[in-house]
């Protein structure tokens, strides 16, 4: 299972940016569980920042919504998964930390470090009982860098420079 995913990654490694290649929600014990696969391609500028020890926060925003005809969509649930990626110079290790759970992993290369956040599996999304059976629901998610966690001097250039806008668009599918 690991092998298949691993092999799929490097083929589309041209344009910098994060891409959600696959996402699905499975019903297990009346709770929807989310599985997402994300490809990360950093720009030179961001790579440089990571290598300089600037902690980078990658945020995955997940929303469950009920589309309505003549109004804006109703938001049913919203959650955010945040991961921090940081280079440890002395240990020459990349540290990946899930800021929601506090789980921390280290890896000697960036690629291996990204392994920990490339696949997000079995993330509990919503209880089925909260959803009405005859209604239609949508799940949408996007992933991107969290600029507000950057050091202040970097923030303005991040907001104004293309090389920092790596976020994916909304990935939407019906639940």
């Amino acid at each position: 299972m690991l092998g298949t995913l691993y092999a799929a990654t490097p083929l589309l490694a041209a344009e910098p940016g994060f891409t959600i290649t696959r996402a699905e929600a499975k019903l297990v014990n009346q709770v929807y569980h989310l599985s997402v696969h994300i490809e990360y391609e950093f720009s030179k500028k961001v790579l440089e920042a990571i290598q300089s020890g600037v902690p980078m926060v990658i945020a995955l925003e997940i929303e469950v919504r009920r589309p309505r005809n003549y109004m804006w969509d109703e938001q049913i649930a919203q959650l955010k998964q945040r991961f921090q990626l940081q280079y440890h110079a002395l240990a020459e290790q990349y540290i990946v930390e899930n800021l929601n759970s506090g789980a921390q992993n280290t890896a000697p290369t960036l690629n291996t470090a990204l392994f920990y956040i490339r696949n997000i599996d079995d993330l509990p999304l919503i209880d089925q009982q909260l959803l009405k059976p005859d209604e239609e629901y949508q799940v949408r998610l996007k992933v991107g860098l969290e600029f507000d966690s950057l050091p202040v001097p970097l923030r303005l250039s991040a907001y104004t420079s293309r090389s920092w806008w790596l976020g994916s668009g909304w990935f939407v599918w019906d639940l």
């Binding site: 300089s52 020890g53 002395l90 240990a91 290790q93 280290t106 001097p153 923030r155």
Partner: protein, 746 residues
Amino acid sequence: MKNKVERLLRQLSESFVPVAIMAAFMVMSMALLSAATENSSQFGRMHLVLVVINVLGLIVLVGLIGINLTKLLSQYKRNVTGSRLTARLVVIFVILSVAPVSLVYYFSLGFLQHGIDSWFDVRMEQAMEDSLKLSRSALDMQKRELLKKSRALSDALTGVPNDLALMSLNDLRAESGANELTLLTQGGEIIASSSEDTTAIIPHRPDDSTLLQVREKKSFADVSPVGELGLHVRVSVGVDSTDAEIEPRVLYALFPIPERMGELADKVELAYAQYKKLVFLREPLKNSFVLTLSLVLLVSILTAVWAAFFSAQRLVSPIRILTMGTKAVAAGNYDKKFPPTTNDELGSLVKSFADMTQRLASARDQAERSQQQVERERSYLRAVLGRLSSGVMTLDHERKLRVANNAANQILEVNLEKSLGKGLLAIAQSASNLAEFVDVLNKNFVSKDNVSKDKEWREEVIVKKKGGNKTLMCQGAVLPGIKGMKRGYVVVFDDVTTLVKAQRDAAWGEVARRLAHEIKNPLTPIQLSAERLRRKYLDKMPPEDAELLERSTRTIIEQVRSMEEMVKAFSEYARVPPIEFQPLQFDALVSEVLDLYQAEDIGAQIIADFQAKLPLLEADPGRMRQLLHNLIKNAIESTQEVPGARIVITLATVVIGDSELLELRVKDNGKGIPESILNSLYEPQTTTKSKGGGLGLAVVKRIVEEHSGTTFAENNIEGGASVVVRLPLTQADSTQHPEFLVQATQ
């Protein structure tokens, strides 16, 4: 709506409170921005918002300045009062505020660049790298040592079965000083684990790639930060199995770095990480500081510029009010209202100016009232003077004519209006017949000047004129000078000619009557005596004596008769029968009288030249006949020794002034009138003839005056003299008033 917005904008840009609030707000946001730039934890999250707020503030400021600037420019173009001073003040304020701030900005920018750059140094960087390497090699040594130790532990576990492993692990951990010892299968499943931290539920385990390496190379060790515990050495070694029942296993050991070393390593790591981060952030940091500094500068400059507009307008506003007030006063408008201004010296200046204007206004009103009063009194005086029958003249201190009323013009028969402001001598030169009058005035005023200021004088003056001299009774006085006005003179005069004439006529009448009476009385006895002498002695005397007697007595009788006639004439002059006016066709009357003369030989040719259609004349026919006889006799007498004597009698209407007159002119070609008697021609006893009593022209004058006419005599240029009589026609104009004619006839 538009007005409201405009008013709000004006209030916003002109009143003090919004300015102060805005400035305070900008300063606060600037302070926050600079804090956010320096300290990320406190205001870090607000940084972007603050930047946006400040940029918006800048835009608002630029807008306000733009409004003020366009307003000022349009005022400057229209040359509105005060705009030039405002513009100058604004320029000065802007220069004064912008120049130092810009200098500070320039140098701050330089310091900023240099300051940040000075943090970074090649030697420093090298030292950092070296210390990191040193730390790494120290950690490597530690790592190798611990790897060796782990191998020994692995050897100790070789023969230990899985179910006994936990006890061995506990012993080994205590012995080796490891934090955690975990025994796993080669697939990664945990067999047993011993940890110093008893609260940890899930032991640490090596990841899959590590396990892969262990399977290949039997061992793997690295230094890695473990959670919050800091740096640890992680060692994974394969545990060989001598027993066929026991599968090959992996020992995973977590060793703490010795405390002192760990501390140092952490410090080095921290310093290095910070340094690296700073190197990376060098440009963004500079940009960020420059941005903040530039924002601060722009806000300061724009606020200063705005404040310059604001304060210039406030400063100039009293001056503008003053200028407008001055203009209004210069234009004669004293009623301008002055709005209250500041409390400073300029404000009090405006207030004083307002007070002054008010006083000027009241003074002007007062002056206007007095002037009106003076004007009223002057016109009243003029009206009084105009109605006076006496002539009134006033002279100033240089004896120049100031005022002359209508009566003065009529009496002196000159238009004094033209002579106002002229000296007396100039007046005398322009009208020669006023010489005596002016002499009298000069003489009296000059002599009175020195004697007494309020002494009056009174004198009779004879003014020469064509139709006879005029007698004026003059009264003069010195007008005292009042309050800076120099003294002047006033002279009042009346035409007393008629009065004097009447008195003289009355006196002559009395003389004539008495003389006639006194002379007439002895005449009859003289005549009777002469006749008796003749009757008694003529026949008795010898013829030669008789002839003498006869001649003497005849002379006596003739002379007495002639004297009687003379006496009769005198008494007739004195006796004035009542006058009876009636409408008269004057040309017919003249023709009738002329007929009498043309019948007899008078030694002169009489030519009548009458204007056709002469209007009726209101006159006494008897008096008119007497007048004509006198004139014609006069003319005949003056042409007696002249060959080719000719008397021309003309009748015509003339218009003099606004009255129509009938003019009778008797013109002869005789000797003319000597200059010596021309002036007293009409006086009784004035004659050039040997015969006659000299009463002819005196009678003529009396009759003419009775008919309100005028008469004068003049010498003709071609020789001889003319006597002119002018009688007014207005009283009985038959063509216009036939009814009046009928009534008058009755």
